[in-house]
């Protein structure tokens, strides 16, 4: 599906256009599910959380921000909802990311079967390595490198200085690459 202009989509949703809301859900469900799964390990639970996030977005659609700041704001809403969800479950920190066998559910529009297999295998490895990071490192990688938010946006969201985000992001990338190498070595051993 071709994505509509975000500003128009937001305006239509705020005006109560149900078709626009459906298009909005389809446009952002992948992103919201990815964020939910970075906080909740279980796939069904992550779906429930993602649904809660959309219901919350629908209820507060009168207060959505403008298109240029919308993605960061959406990530913030999803993160807040995920933290509330974890709190309700009495879990104090984000859980390990996807179990390995569920990595196959990641959306993958790769062209050829061989390339798709290779890509999927790399993604599984990275996803498993993400699950081994500390909660803060995983969150920074998710927001900065996965969701593509700016340093300033991540700093605002986490309530820390921009310099801290930069240094933590560098360290988190190093940790992630080291975990990927370690996982690769573990798997290559008989």
């Amino acid at each position: 599906m071709e994505h509509l202009d975000l500003g128009i989509l937001i305006a239509r949703c705020q005006a109560g256009d149900e078709l626009a809301w459906e298009a909005f859900v389809r446009q952002f469900q992948g992103r919201v599910c990815a964020i939910a799964r970075s906080y909740v390990a279980d796939r069904d639970e992550a779906r429930d959380l993602a649904q809660e996030i959309f219901v919350r977005l629908y209820e507060t659609r009168g207060r959505w921000v403008a298109a240029d700041a919308f993605i960061a704001w959406l990530c913030q809403v999803a993160r807040n909802r995920a933290i509330d969800y974890l709190r309700r479950r009495r879990a104090r920190e984000p859980r390990v990311a996807l179990p390995e066998e569920e990595g196959a559910h990641v959306a993958d529009p790769s062209p050829g079967p061989a390339a798709a297999l290779e890509q999927r295998s790399r993604r599984r490895l990275v996803q498993a390595a993400l699950g081994r990071l500390s909660a803060l490192s995983r969150e920074i990688v998710m927001l900065r490198d996965v969701q593509g938010l700016s340093v300033r946006e991540v700093a605002t969201m986490l309530g820390v200085p921009a310099g801290t985000v930069k240094s933590r992001a560098s360290r988190a990338r190093v940790e992630l690459a080291e975990e990927v190498l370690a996982l690769g070595r573990e798997r290559s051993q008989p």
């Binding site: 149900e18 809301w21 459906e22 859900v25 389809r26 469900q29 992948g30 992103r31 919201v32 599910c33 990815a34 799964r37 796939r43 779906r47 993602a50 649904q51 959309f54 219901v55 629908y58 209820e59 509330d84 709190r87 309700r88 009495r90 559910h105 990641v106 959306a107 993958d108 890509q119 790399r122 993604r123 990275v126 996803q127 390595a129 993400l130 990688v141 490198d145 996965v146 969701q147 593509g148 930069k166 240094s167 992001a169 560098s170 360290r171 988190a172 990338r173 190093v174 992630l176 690459a177 080291e178 990927v180 190498l181």
Partner: protein, 283 residues
Amino acid sequence: MTPVEPDATFAGDVLARTSGPACPRARLLLGGTPDAPMPPVDRALVDAHLERCGACREFAVALPAVVEVLPSLAEADPGPGFTARVLAATVQAPPGSTAAPWRDRWLAWWETLAARPRIAWEAAYALTLVLVLVVGDPVKAWDSAAAGLRIWSVPATPLSLPAPDLSGARAALVSRGARMAEGVGAARAWLEHRAQGAAAFAAALRADDAASESRLWIFMAEVTDLAERWGLRALSWASDLLGALRPAPVEPRTTPAGDVNPAPATEPPAGAARSSDRTERTR
């Protein structure tokens, strides 16, 4: 004198006895450069390190591949039926049911708050502190308010007016007027007492002398004590209210002897309680 070429492990031995291996520093520099070029000096130092360190060479190859994969994790397949579920929970819900009913909202809010006991406690404490500072001891305030209500309400004993002789009625009216005046006086006295207390508190805040300060601390200690007692009571009320709002699970009653007893409740029926209340009121 011809310089002697040390063996391959010499530099490693020196580093081990001085600064430690340089690998973490090299990796940190490599990890911080996906979107910004490394300064030339750092680049040269890292390259020199990579020439000698096989583990970091492997790391330097793996890191860009990992960073390249990350954006592809931005979206996850929500699975079949997800959009339909979201739409069913939002636009396709029956009119008026998009927003949760007030009871569900209240319960959800309370559960969220209860999941943060420290914040809940601090909020209850702060609110109670404000309440105590504004109205004083809530027990006394409540008693005074209740007394005022009793004074202004219809007397418990209905007036009986003998037809020809109005002296009884006059006496009852005089008595009632006296009680009203007494009530007004009590209310005024209570207000004056609170005003004096507030003035003393303000004076103690302004004064620097030790006596005022000690009075202030005693006052604050009393207020804190009251706040704690009323904070606990407020939490208890809120929990009771929550329990009352929740549908009670149907469970067989168990006698102290351990028998399952499905007998009806021992409390009198609601109608009986109301009739006894009526009796009490007309007495």
